[in-house]
């Protein structure tokens, strides 16, 4: 045991000695930088901190938005590469286009129906383990992303700091998406595929609930 520990210690020492000057500079400057005292936050709902917090929680206030974001991630994981990485890159951008349209006050008909339908259709796609060509999946997801973005864009409060609000909002949406992908990675196991498809069915049911006004 002592032999193993000594070997590991000497390996570590060798690693430290073999660091280049830039690596040593990086290490020491990191320590120095982490000693910078941050300003303590008092009450969160002021200024940029409040805008970030409001933006971050905004996507989490609507179940219809949450299930659709998760469904996009689930479907991406189900479709596999390259959809697995195309969808998380493309979706926020297209959603932002919808958001910009909403902010500018340009109306899109049937936004709420579109949002509810997104849950239904994306949920069905996951439940049926549908694997259409990538371009079809991208068009479908992009189509619904516009509705979601538009809804958020029109709802964005005008008094908040728009930049920090947008930062919080986009990060929260992206993280919801990542949750869907993480859940979708269960598809590598047989029981996981069943669980993911069941999740898709549940999302579809929730979407129906919103579509028919039950939820």
């Amino acid at each position: 045991m002592r032999y193993i520990m000594n070997r590991q210690i000497s390996r570590g020492s060798r690693s430290m000695r073999n660091l280049t000057s830039i690596e040593r500079f990086s290490l020491f400057s990191t320590l120095a930088l982490l000693c910078l005292p941050g300003l303590a936050f008092g009450h969160a709902d002021v200024g940029s901190a409040g805008g970030f917090a409001s933006g971050f929680t905004h996507p989490l206030t609507g179940l219809d938005h949450i299930v659709a974001m998760v469904a996009v991630g689930l479907w991406g994981a189900f479709l596999g590469a390259p959809a697995l990485w195309v969808l998380p890159v493309v979706f926020p951008a297209i959603m932002a286009v919808g958001g910009a349209i909403g902010i500018m006050g340009i109306p899109i008909p049937g936004v709420e129906v579109g949002i509810a339908l997104s849950g239904v259709i994306l949920g069905v796609m996951v439940a049926l383990a549908a694997r259409p060509p990538l371009w079809i999946a991208a068009i479908l997801v992009g189509f619904f992303a516009i509705f979601h973005g538009h809804a958020h864009g029109t709802e964005l409060p005008h008094s908040a700091n728009p930049l920090t609000f947008a930062i919080g909002f986009v990060i929260a949406t992206g993280l919801l998406h990542m949750c869907g992908i993480a859940f979708g990675l269960l598809t590598r196991w047989r029981i996981g595929r069943v669980a993911v498809r069941a999740g898709g069915a549940a999302i579809s049911l929730i979407g129906c609930g919103f579509l028919f006004g039950v939820l």
């Binding site: 926020p92 286009v97 930049l163 909002f169 986009v170």
Partner: protein
């Protein structure tokens, strides 16, 4: 490889430590923390600067081999010039949409993992550096305190963009490169939303 891992971890940790969320301040020295240190923290108090430097760092990390020798020096030189101009002249703050427009353009390159020619990238980085510098004026205080503050600001900008670019350049795995593109798309979304706000307000 342990060396790369140490460098990458160091760079990412220092970037994360540097961007701990702070309350935004208007342009002015922060009372009680010294001129130089106030200047060091100044870039971290402007969300638009953070967003722009972040996306420039992402692009630098993606295209390190091509752009480390041209884009990075362009940024450093032009940001120094911008800061110097604030010392000798009265410069109005740069409108946030202008900075975010540059962030949007850079984010497009990051999302597409596309590298423009080194000259165009250098111009993009140089312009961004210049505008960040011009937007970092310090109000009040003696000349020596302003100089210290501006030097601190420049050092912080140089440190953050270099560390971020260096750390991201070591990421070789496919999922890591995808992660960079995902963050680029987030910056694209943020910039587009804020630009839409600005157009609506304007």
């Amino acid at each position: 490889m342990p060396r790369q891992r140490i460098l990458r971890t160091t760079c990412i940790a220092s970037f994360l430590g540097a961007i701990m969320p702070q309350t935004a301040h208007a342009h002015g020295q922060i009372a009680g923390i010294g001129d130089f240190y106030g200047g060091v923290l100044h870039p971290l108090y402007s969300p638009s600067h953070i967003v722009l430097v972040l996306v420039l760092g992402l692009h630098l990390g993606q295209t390190a081999v091509k752009n480390f020798k041209s884009a990075l020096p362009a940024f450093l030189i032009m940001s120094a010039i911008g800061l110097f101009v604030t010392l000798v002249a009265d410069v109005a703050p740069i409108d946030q949409p202008i900075l975010l427009g540059l962030a949007l353009a850079t984010a497009c390159l990051v999302m597409l993992e596309n590298s423009a020619s080194p000259i165009i990238t250098a111009v993009l980085f140089g312009t961004s550096g210049l505008l960040i510098g011009l937007d970092s004026s310090v109000e009040g205080g003696s000349s020596s305190s302003v100089v210290k503050s501006l030097i601190g600001t420049w050092l912080m900008l140089a440190y953050v963009i270099f560390m971020l670019g260096a750390a991201l350049a070591t990421l070789k795995k496919h999922w890591q490169r995808v992660g960079i593109r995902v963050v680029g798309s987030w910056v694209f979304a943020i910039s587009l939303l804020v630009l839409a706000f600005a157009v609506k307000k304007g």
